[in-house]
């Protein structure tokens, strides 16, 4: 039974966790509140914890003022969807054979993959590979393919596959099933938590992509949402210099809310994450736990 001292320990631990959770939520909350606040009020009174002078101008401008945001949204959705599908497919089909004991070269191949975690050519050779060898500059594929496979995900998945009893595959093989059938019909359905985990990791990576845009994309039509936010941070007039006539007329002689536009863009970019993440959360915790404990 817990003594008074034990109860104090539980209480202290709980308070620490709740405070840390609040610390995590606070900046998001402030940004959300500010994005709905009138720009002049925001500048005059500063950022606050609650909405004062509710105002949707920034959101209206973001959605209707220029085609950039909608464009970036589409690019981001397309790259996230195809990138996630490609990542799961490539990772799973590489990871499964590595978990099968009868595959003789699996430890050699594992090392071949592991070595990529220790060594890499660095920025310059990769840059030249993409731009001069593969000619993928200003091509949407550069935002999908190069990020599709990494050693960490492969090992996470291999470790999960290794927990599935090999006798299942064995008995199917006796019944005449090929390895591909076994993989598709038996292994994959049993590996939902790890597939969800990798899908989540991959989606988040693709959704938040801006680095490759910075390096390889000049065409404004292929910018991702995060890159757009980056541009807005550095170049206040990036969107507003392109505002269409109707948006200008609607604004009248009001000043363009530059801070508001940044905040609103940031908020709509994390919207889908905040909505989807609690649903996927229960899968990925178990996925990571099983995958990482076995090391």
């Amino acid at each position: 039974m817990d003594t008074a001292a034990d109860k104090a320990v539980i209480a202290a631990c709980s308070i620490i966790c709740v405070l840390f959770a609040a610390f995590c939520a606070m900046p998001l909350w402030v940004a959300l509140v500010s994005s709905f606040t009138n720009e002049n009020t925001l500048i005059r009174e500063g950022y606050r914890l609650f909405v004062k002078d509710f105002d949707l101008t920034s959101y209206k401008l973001v959605f209707t003022g220029s085609s950039d945001v909608m464009n970036a949204y589409i690019v981001t959705i397309v790259t996230t969807f195809f990138g996630m599908a490609l990542t799961v497919l490539l990772t799973a089909s590489l990871a499964y054979p590595l978990s099968v004991e009868s595959v003789k070269y699996r430890s050699k191949i594992s090392f071949f993959i592991y070595a990529t975690m220790l060594f890499n050519g660095g920025l310059v050779p990769n840059y030249l590979l993409i731009s001069r060898f593969l000619h993928l500059r200003d091509n949407i594929l550069v935002l999908i393919i190069p990020a599709a496979l990494n050693a960490y995900n492969v090992f996470l998945m291999r470790n999960y596959f290794a927990t599935i009893p090999p006798s299942l595959a064995e008995s199917a093989r006796i019944d005449g099933a090929t390895d591909i059938t076994i993989f598709a019909k038996i292994i994959l359905p049993l590996a939902k938590p790890i597939l969800a985990t990798i899908a989540l990791f991959a989606s988040m990576g693709y959704w938040n992509e801006w680095y490759r845009v910075l390096l390889y994309i000049d065409n404004r039509k292929l910018f991702t949402l995060q890159f757009l936010i980056m541009r807005l941070q550095q170049q206040v007039d990036f969107l507003t210099s392109n505002l269409n006539a109707s948006a200008r007329a609607a604004l009248g002689n009001l000043t363009i809310p530059t801070i508001g536009i940044r905040l609103a863009t940031a908020m709509i970019s994390i919207g889908p994450i905040v909505l989807l993440y609690p649903i996927l959360q229960r899968y990925f915790i178990s996925g990571i736990m099983v995958g990482s404990v076995k090391g």
Binding site: C13, S14, C17, V30, A31, N120, N208, Q226, Y277
Partner: protein
Amino acid sequence: MAGQKRGGFAKEISRNKYLYLMMLPGILFFLLFNYLPMAGLYFAFVKYHPLAPAFGLGSQFVGLKNFEYFFASKDWLKITANTLFLNTVFITSGIVVQLGLAVCLNEMTMKMAKKISQTFMFLPNFISWTVVSVMSIALFSTDEGIINHVLVLFGMTPINFYQNASVWPTLLAILRIWKGAGFGSVIYLASIAGIDAEIYEAATIDGASRLARIFRITIPMLKTTTAMLLIMNIGSIFYGDFGMIYALINDNPMLRSTTDVIDTYVYRALRMYNDIGMSSAVGLFQSVIGFITVVLANRVINKLDKESALF
């Protein structure tokens, strides 16, 4: 392979042909995107010319000249020191907070509160540094920022965050903890879940308090995980977090004295001066020195505690 029959390779491939076929795309991917660029390390030894054969690899060989440029500049010591210092702060603060959070989460008895706290703790991990930079302006900006509001409220002088280089190592460490520590605690939670329940039962029967169980069982049992995380992090100690620094401070020259790291320096050399030779040389320097640190760290840990070593 000694003692292996001829045709062993072909036999093995044909026996498991579907499995090898499944692996083929992934193996080709690693060859193309990870191994092929390693050939590009040779750029560190040439005076790059874009029209030279083999994508510039055929440029004139200059030996260690590119390294000389880098090590002769007075910048290299500063950016290497910044990289090491920032990463040391990030690694230690990160590990301490992750471990602490995992232990606290593990002691929480209210299921609902635990779940909600965890949800909020993990969420920042999925938010990109660009969005963090939008939010950090709301927090840190001089006139409108919340932190300065609070400082003024308590009669203190506001801090000019974006012009004061000395506060950034702390700010970056806090932002990193905000973003990653909650999620990082999952690894520790997984290790705690793996601790044999009988140990706790035995300790409870012997009258150990919760606090004693935390400090005598849980934390000591996390030694291996901590060592593993340390080795893995130390391997990248010479790599600056370009994404974070570029997004948060962009290229603010006023903050460069504490935040300019090897990676931001290389990026500048590449984008502004198109200096392919030196950028490659620095990249090679990072890889080699990073590899040496991993091996050394592993050896030290091997000496201290054999079980905790990574290899």
